[in-house]
Structures are given as structure tokens and as C-alpha cells.
């Protein structure tokens, strides 16, 4: 199932988890210690973040560590940067159109 990244980061707990694992890879237990919620709901958040391809799992011995997949976060920023450019260029075209229309009226 493909999930929506915005849905993933809409939740404050999930955003906090991303901030935690951005610093270092962590086990689910270590992550859970930072929150006053059940281990079960932490697992659910981790599952959603993994399904959004924001977290990667890495096995060390018997432990599973979660780490942030930076490229996915950068992808959002690059989409937004492109959207910003589209709008910027569109408005510059409008500047020209307005300039022409103003001169016609005179």
C-alpha cells in the first residue's frame, strides 16, 4: 500500500519520532522511552513511517534499529521548491501582461 507522506508527518508523535531518528538510529524500545504512550502505538507509528518509506530498518545482532531515510524528506522539499519556481515564473509572466494592459489603457 502506498501511503501519503503528508499523512505521515501530520501526526505530532510521528514528527517527533522523525526528529529523534534523524540524530541517530534507534531501537523501538529506545524510541518508546521518549513518549508517554504504549509500546503498541509506537509500533504503529513506526509501521506507518516505514510504509511511507521515511524509515529504514537495520539489524544489529538481535536488535532492530530504525533510521531516517533522508532522501525521501529531501524529495518533498525538492517538489516544493519546484512548485515555488512554477508560481514565481507564472507571476513574472503576469507582471508582463499587466504592464502591457496598463499601457493599452493609457
Amino acid at each position: 500500500m502506498r501511503r501519503d507522506i503528508f499523512q505521515a508527518i501530520a501526526d505530532p508523535t510521528r514528527r517527533a519520532i522523525l526528529v529523534l531518528v534523524a540524530v541517530q538510529a534507534m531501537t523501538p524500545n529506545a524510541i518508546a522511552e521518549h513518549f508517554d504512550i504504549t509500546r503498541q502505538s509506537i509500533s504503529k507509528h513506526l509501521r506507518i513511517l516505514s510504509e511511507c518509506d521515511l524509515l529504514a530498518q537495520k539489524h544489529e545482532g538481535r536488535e532492530i534499529f530504525y533510521e531516517l531515510k533522508i532522501d525521501k524528506m529531501e524529495e518533498i522539499d525538492s517538489w516544493l521548491a519546484q512548485f515555488r519556481k512554477i508560481m514565481e515564473e507564472r507571476f513574472q509572466q503576469l507582471d508582463q501582461v499587466l504592464y502591457t494592459l496598463k499601457n493599452k489603457k493609457k
Partner: protein, 165 residues
């Protein structure tokens, strides 16, 4: 002339906020956003052109338009006006569509607010996207050419504009 351009994003709320100033009076800027013949002159990223098939600017009315590539490839979209306060604000729902006017959901909600001060008109736009997938598509939608304007070009344009002052 330096015209204000502000672009901020609230990722969690899936909302983009844009504010832009234009060097023209309110009624002209309002027309530029609400009349098909003017919209078609500026909304398409070059070398694409905008072609409005119909536009009925009233509450419940729709605009059905295409971005047309130099090869003649058409990408259709439909806008539905949900609220209009003349020369102050209008809101619309925007979705991509097929050539038979069937919208492809989800779409996005656009809210435009206009105000004039000292002969300049400020337009504030709030864009709410239901899903990231749509945002992605909005950008994929043949706009690649539009991105190519380099910072260099932007600086040149700004220089031209400031000379006019």
C-alpha cells in the same frame, strides 16, 4: 521595482501560502485572475500555452482548460468556483481532468485574497492539497520546461524591473 514574493509551506497541514504584489491597480489584477482571455496569457509555463475551453466565473461555475505543449499534447484541468466576493476574494477547487471533463480526484483548494495599497495590489493565495500524490502530479504535469528559468534570468528580470523605477 521590488515586488514582494513570499512562499511558505506548512507540510503537516498540507498547505502552501503565497503572497505576491503586482504593480497594477486592484481591478486590473482581479481581471487578470478571473477572466479567461487574460489568464490564458500568463498561467502556462513556457513553452506551453493555456487554452480555456469555457469559463463561467460565478459561484458553482467552472473553468475547463488545458495546458498545451508545443507538440500539441493537452493536459486538462477543471476548476470549480466555490465562493466569490468581487474584487476581494474568491475560492475554487482545482482538479486534473480528462478531455471529457471528468475530474481526477483528489484535487486542491485555492483561496485568493486581493487588496490594494499605494497603487499596488497584493494577492494572498492559500493552497490546500488533499494528498501528496496530487502535489507530486501537479509538478510532474509537464511543467519541467517551466523550471528551467535560472536564477540568472531571474536576476536579469529583476534588474529590468528595477530600472523602470
Amino acid at each position: 521595482m521590488n515586488l514582494l514574493f513570499d512562499f511558505t509551506v506548512d507540510k503537516a497541514a498540507k498547505t502552501v501560502f503565497i503572497t505576491r504584489e503586482f504593480d497594477a491597480d486592484l481591478s486590473l489584477v482581479w481581471d487578470a485572475f478571473t477572466k479567461a482571455e487574460i489568464l490564458d496569457q500568463w498561467v502556462a509555463p513556457k513553452p506551453w500555452i493555456s487554452k480555456t475551453k469555457f469559463m463561467d466565473f460565478k459561484v458553482g461555475g467552472r473553468r475547463f482548460y488545458a495546458m498545451v505543449s508545443p507538440e500539441g499534447h493537452e493536459r486538462w484541468a477543471i476548476q470549480k468556483y466555490t465562493s466569490i466576493s468581487p474584487k476581494t476574494n474568491f475560492k475554487m477547487f482545482n482538479a486534473f481532468a480528462d478531455k471529457d471533463e471528468n475530474p481526477e480526484l483528489p484535487g486542491s483548494d485555492w483561496d485568493y485574497t486581493f487588496s490594494e495599497q499605494n497603487g499596488k495590489t497584493k494577492v494572498s493565495i492559500i493552497i490546500y492539497n488533499e494528498s501528496l500524490a496530487r502535489m507530486e502530479k501537479m509538478i510532474e504535469m509537464g511543467f519541467t520546461e517551466g523550471f528551467k528559468m535560472s536564477m540568472n534570468n531571474l536576476e536579469k528580470l529583476l534588474a529590468t524591473l528595477s530600472q523602470r523605477q
